[in-house]
């Protein structure tokens, strides 16, 4: 068991990180992005630049969390992230997942919660980076497919929201549908977090009893050809069911939590 001071320190680091994240979003959105608009280039060029900057900001954020002792992490297979037309999917145990994946994927697009487009700290960032809102469904699917056809790398969390601890995986079919429509390649990332940090419904200061360790494992590409031979509604259902089973087999049915929390 770590010392009480270490525990309090981790609460302080977590609080600082939340503050930094919000401040970072404001500074990028209010100062940096408007300044970048002065740089030359067409819309696609600007968006790529913005996404590259968001990626580097997230990586810095990860280094701060790691260096400050808030979390530790390891990534296996990151060289296979960021290919053109690649759809990257991942399970979603914690609030930090999107930051970790974006931080280590070259300039990706990302499907994020519609709420981030209304949050004053995040909305300018997600807008400038051309991220895609997960609502309404038809627009999400069409915009995601368009991004993949334009050879962007796109990150999606098929659960749509963080995993509820102890509940089996429930994947939304949207990701499977987007994959079948337009992905050149579909790559799964398995995220493990031990002990779990910031799951759905917890306050920020509820840090776990030990420093959480993240493992991001980039899996083998998933073959889509056999599904593409089926009528699309059937294909997306079958692929989605397969993905759910696949993730459950990899991570256990309780959604990427390797242990019970708080123990």
């Amino acid at each position: 068991m770590e010392k009480r001071e270490t525990y309090l320190w981790r609460i302080a680091v977590t609080g600082t990180c939340f503050t930094l994240f919000g401040l970072g979003g404001l500074i990028l959105g209010l100062l940096v992005f408007p300044a970048m608009m002065l740089l030359p280039g067409d819309a696609a060029r600007r968006r790529a630049r913005t996404r590259g900057l968001v990626q580097r900001a997230f990586r810095l954020f990860v280094y701060v969390m790691n260096g400050g002792g808030g979390i530790s992490y390891e990534i296996q297979g990151r060289e296979r992230l960021g290919r053109p037309g690649q759809l990257v999917i991942a399970n979603h145990p914690t609030l930090v997942d999107v930051v970790l994946i974006v931080a280590f994927t070259p300039a990706p697009a990302c499907v994020v919660k519609v709420a981030l487009f209304h949050n004053p700290f995040t909305r300018r960032v997600v807008q400038a980076a051309g991220y895609i809102s997960n609502s309404p469904t038809d627009e999400m699917i069409e915009r995601s497919a368009a991004a993949l056809r334009a050879d962007d790398c796109l990150v999606m969390f098929p659960e749509g929201t963080r995993t509820r601890p102890g509940q089996p995986f429930a994947f939304n079919r949207g990701a499977a549908s987007v994959a079948l429509r337009a992905a050149r390649v579909l790559t799964p990332v398995y995220i493990r977090c031990e002990p779990v940090v910031l799951p759905k419904g917890d306050s920020w200061y509820k840090v776990p009893p030990r420093r959480p360790h993240f493992t991001l494992e980039v899996g083998d590409d998933i073959d889509l050809a056999s599904y593409r031979a089926l009528p699309p509604p059937k294909a997306s259902r079958q692929l989605n069911a397969w993905l759910q089973d696949h993730y459950a087999a990899r991570l256990g049915t309780s959604g990427g939590y390797n242990g019970t929390r708080g123990s």
Partner: protein, 82 residues
């Protein structure tokens, strides 16, 4: 220029082919979601299919208020007539 009957037949063909529905269930009054179990993701697949079949430029926006098969016939008819 297609009549509403022709459009209805095309929609029927699309629904049976994509969703393997019995023809008898596809009536103008049938509700897509409740009666035919077609959700918002299926609707995007259906739209794609209708676009290819009718050659009409149907956007998701045109279908936002569609609830029944009959509504869909009306929506497509409005677009091909325009």
């Amino acid at each position: 220029m297609q009549t509403k009957d022709e459009i209805f037949e095309q929609i029927k063909a699309a629904l049976t082919e994509l969703f393997e529905l019995d023809l008898g269930r596809i009536t103008p009054a049938a509700r897509l979601n409740e009666d035919l179990e077609i959700d918002s993701i299926d609707a995007v697949d259906l739209l794609d299919r209708l676009r290819r079949q009718t050659g009409a430029k149907i956007s998701a926006e045109d279908f936002r208020s569609v609830r029944t098969v009959g509504d869909m016939v009306e929506a497509v008819h409005k677009i091909v007539r325009a």
